[in-house]
Symmetry: C2
Subunit: 88 residues, 2 copies
């Protein structure tokens, strides 16, 4: 069993209204030292695979096809082997 | 200038409909080896601070007060010093 930790962020330059809203909220709460905020997704995928390489191939493919929109988003992932019992 | 990378996840046991939907989508695309999916938020905050400790105090406080809902969510963050030019 492997756990993939996938971060999906809007590409630099793509407008991020959610990030702007959070920055505005922080500013109105008195956090004036906040310069900018970007909001993305953090996805954990638990999957069975024969090997690290197999898991990596699957994760790269599913991230590109479903989890991220490669036109406007970038992604990074890390893959760690886990014991089955850790799956929530 | 510091960059805080904040991961916000639903606590284990809290129902995650978005994760279930993604898992269903992956399964219907043929990824049958996916066991479970959890979807959270990944937030980057760029902020000015006098020291690492000051930045850490600010990030902990704003995460607890605005970025996460501590009743149902957990969070982790890392803090790295950055050059001002990296802010997007």
């Amino acid at each position: 069993m492997y756990k993939a930790e996938i971060k999906v962020m809007l590409k630099p330059g793509v407008l991020d209204p959610q990030g702007k809203a959070v920055a505005g909220g922080l500013s109105s709460m008195g956090y004036n030292q906040v310069e900018s905020v970007r909001v993305g997704k953090y996805i954990e995928v638990f999957l069975r695979a024969d090997s690290q390489a197999d898991a990596e191939r699957q994760v790269a493919e599913m991230t590109h096809r479903l989890l991220a929109n490669p036109v406007i988003e970038t992604y990074q992932y890390t893959l760690v082997p886990v014991e089955s019992e850790e799956v929530s």
